[in-house]
């Protein structure tokens, strides 16, 4: 792989790492591991930990995919590997 290609791949891996961190924190973190602690906070009638498990993480997942698609598109163009 040439230098340009290696740089593109490591930039891609950094982006994936960042998104996976958010993905993990909101679902496994807020929705499962820390749900009990968060439940003392109320979001309307929802205990917050319960809300993350039953609603919140899903909204965040959607946002994550579109953010990823956008940033990845930018990366493709920056490294000139996008599709014509």
């Amino acid at each position: 792989m040439n230098d340009q290609g290696a740089a593109y791949w490591s930039a891609t891996l950094r982006l994936l790492g960042g998104i996976l961190a958010v993905w993990f924190i909101c679902s496994f973190g807020a929705g499962i591991l820390f749900a009990d602690a968060l439940n003392s906070i109320k979001l309307g009638g929802y205990p917050l930990g319960f809300w993350f498990a039953h609603q919140g993480s899903i909204y965040i997942f959607i946002a994550l995919i579109f953010i990823y698609a956008k940033l990845m598109g930018d990366l493709d163009r920056k490294f000139d590997v996008h599709e014509e």
């Binding site: 996976l20 009990d36 990823y68």
Partner: protein, 601 residues
């Protein structure tokens, strides 16, 4: 018009629509049959993926299980949506760039070995067949209520319809039909939820209604539900976890990586025109899926509340839940209960002979609830409601108009049929394309390849229908097993194929076999060998859930770890993949140069 006639009309009209579209878009060539010629735009593809994805398990079974499980049911919600993030980032764009249209083809080419591809076919068939068993259970429930027959007869009729339906068109026919099915099923899910949310909380949006206060009071719906179910001896709704935190964690993980490893979902991303479209396609699919998945928790909690309120008048009015007159008289029970009793999925038994229905948890560990039940002279729970009927019965429980009930029946059938069709496509392409054409008879004619595909569909339907008569669990639980199998076998292999240049064929094959074997071993120990009743061997592994309290449905994540570990160890001990394979992996990692998928080798 009475309920039965309305149901026939609505279901009939929806079927006419699907069949009409299937005929209009009939597939010609094999490439169209499997991948719609790579020409489906992202939003459309997203909608079809959503229909494909949201099976009888999501539509019919999931909310019922959440109603039973409470907070712990969130593992289905997170697990079956979070996997799309993994799919969009880790697999879809690279597989699209790779440009083949089946998963075994990718594994066979990447790991330069027909054996690898054969192992992938075995993994794929095991996962897909298990998945279809769950679908058949759901189909049985939907048809039994719809035609007023027992759930066994429902399965027989369902088998016949699924067969006709799946052999009709290929992926292209299915793609456009699935767009129509998505629209039917999402309306069917949301319309009753809106009615019920409005009734209970005055807020028409179910996602907000679930977090609102009850109409005419300042107590939150969830708080009231917590109070009622705890008092009746059930676990507190908003905090009861699924087994243990560890189990919930691995269960969720297993569903997520299973989602990313399920062949019939991955196949969808081969049908978009460009690599960039494969990325956003997953996002569109998730938006359409989320419409149902964020509504489901509201359906679950509200159905649970309504069910209790139906049999115990003190739930809505307040007062003592254990007062004798609070439980309704059996002879006054609503018509919907009588209708569901015919299917055998709802049962009433007057344990203490007082002519009233007492619905509570008689196995409670809560001493207060137990003392109250004993004092009231309750001699055991008298109402059993199969979790799989909650969604279909939901509009009836809430006494909604007939057309809504009919719409839900049509939606349930759409969900079950669309997924069964997608899975059968995956099975038929694995058998005809990867196994017969790829390995046994490379010079088979296009016509015979299609025929082999159709025969394998028929076999899959018969086998899954048979096993669906004695399902290993509720529809959603059975489907979760399929995810565990995909998670432990296919996901790690595909992932290593893309992210590790040095992974060789020995590593991948050993990994897949180890992951599949250990997962099946644990699952079969609980559920019987190949899910045949009476062949389970729990004592051999030291009792149920003996591995750190992890349930068989959740075991896929452990299997995936084993897969990764075995693959890396074997990889280190054998020689690295040839130069051209490493170059191919590098090429797959950049989007430029993506071609339309082709089937020829």
């Amino acid at each position: 018009m009475d309920l039965q006639t309305t149901t026939y009309l609505v279901v009939g009209a929806s079927f006419a629509l699907y069949i009409g579209i299937a005929i209009w878009a009939r597939a010609g060539s094999t490439s169209e049959f499997y991948a719609a010629g790579g020409q489906v735009p992202p939003v459309m593809n997203g909608m079809a993926t959503a229909a494909d994805w949201m099976s009888a398990a999501s539509f019919i079974s999931m909310a019922g299980l959440i109603a039973n499980m409470g907070y712990g049911g969130g593992l289905f919600l997170m697990g079956w949506t979070g996997g799309y993030v993994l799919l969009a980032m880790l697999l879809a764009p690279y597989l699209r760039k790779f440009g083949k249209f089946t998963v075994p083809q990718f594994i066979g080419d990447r790991f330069y070995s027909k054996s690898a591809s054969t192992v992938a076919v075995i993994c794929l068939l095991t996962a897909s067949l298990t998945y279809i068993i769950g679908q058949m259970t759901g189909v049985g429930v939907a048809f039994s209520r719809f035609l007023n027959v027992s759930s066994d007869t429902g399965i027989y009729i369902g088998q016949a319809i699924v067969f006709l339906y799946a052999v009709f068109g290929g992926m292209k026919g299915i793609t456009y039909t699935q767009v129509a099915q998505y629209i039917v099923l999402i309306c069917a899910y949301i319309v009753p939820a809106v009615f019920i949310s409005l009734n209970l909380t005055g807020n028409p949006i179910p996602q907000l209604g679930l977090g609102s206060t009850m109409s005419g009071s300042d107590i939150a719906l969830l708080t009231r539900l917590d109070t009622v179910v705890t008092e009746l001896g059930f676990g507190k709704y908003t905090t009861t976890t699924a087994g243990s935190t560890l189990n919930m964690f691995v269960y969720t993980m297993s569903l997520m990586i299973g989602t990313a490893g399920l062949p019939h979902v991955i196949m969808r991303f081969f049908t978009v025109p460009k690599v960039a479209d494969a990325r956003s396609s997953a996002g569109w699919a998730l938006i359409f899926i989320a419409l149902l998945y964020t509504t489901a928790p509201a359906v679950a909690a509200m159905a649970k509340y309504n069910l209790h309120a139906t049999v115990n008048t003190a739930v809505a009015k307040g007062g003592d839940l254990y007062a004798p007159e609070a439980s309704i008289k059996a002879e006054d029970r609503p018509d919907w209960m009588k209708r569901w009793e015919k299917t055998g999925l709802l049962k009433f038994k007057d344990a203490n002979g007082d002519g009233r229905i007492q619905f509570y948890n008689d196995k409670t560990k809560n001493p207060e609830a137990k003392a109250k039940a004993d004092a009231a002279g309750w001699k055991g729970n008298e109402l059993t409601v199969n979790a799989d009927i909650i969604v279909l019965a939901n509009p009836e429980i809430a006494l909604l108009p007939n057309w809504v009930i009919a719409l839900v029946a049509a939606g349930g059938l759409a969900a079950a049929l669309s997924t069964a069709a997608g899975l059968l496509m995956a099975i038929s392409s694995a058998v005809s394309h990867d196994l017969v054409k790829g390995i046994f008879a490379p010079d088979i004619s296009e016509k015979n390849e299609l025929l082999a595909g159709k025969i394998s569909m028929a076999v899959a339907i018969v086998v899954s229908g048979y096993l669906g008569l004695n399902p290993p669990g509720f529809a959603a639980g059975t489907v979760a097993l399929a995810f565990g199998i995909a998670a432990s076998s296919l996901f790690p292999a595909i992932m290593m194929g893309i992210f590790s240049k040095k992974m060789n064929k020995e590593g991948a094959i050993a990994g897949m076999l180890a992951g599949l074997f250990i997962t099946l071993f644990y699952v079969f120990a609980h559920k019987g060998i190949f899910f045949i009743k009476g062949t389970d061997f729990l004592p051999m592994i030291g009792g149920a859930n003996s591995f750190f309290g992890i349930t068989p449905e959740a075991f896929g994540a452990v299997g995936a770890l084993v897969n990764f570990a075995v693959a890396f160890i074997v990889d280190k001990m054998t020689k690295e993949p040839p130069e051209h394979i490493q170059a191919m992996v590098e090429a797959v990692r950049v989007p430029r140069g993506a071609k339309v998928v082709d089937g020829a080798h």
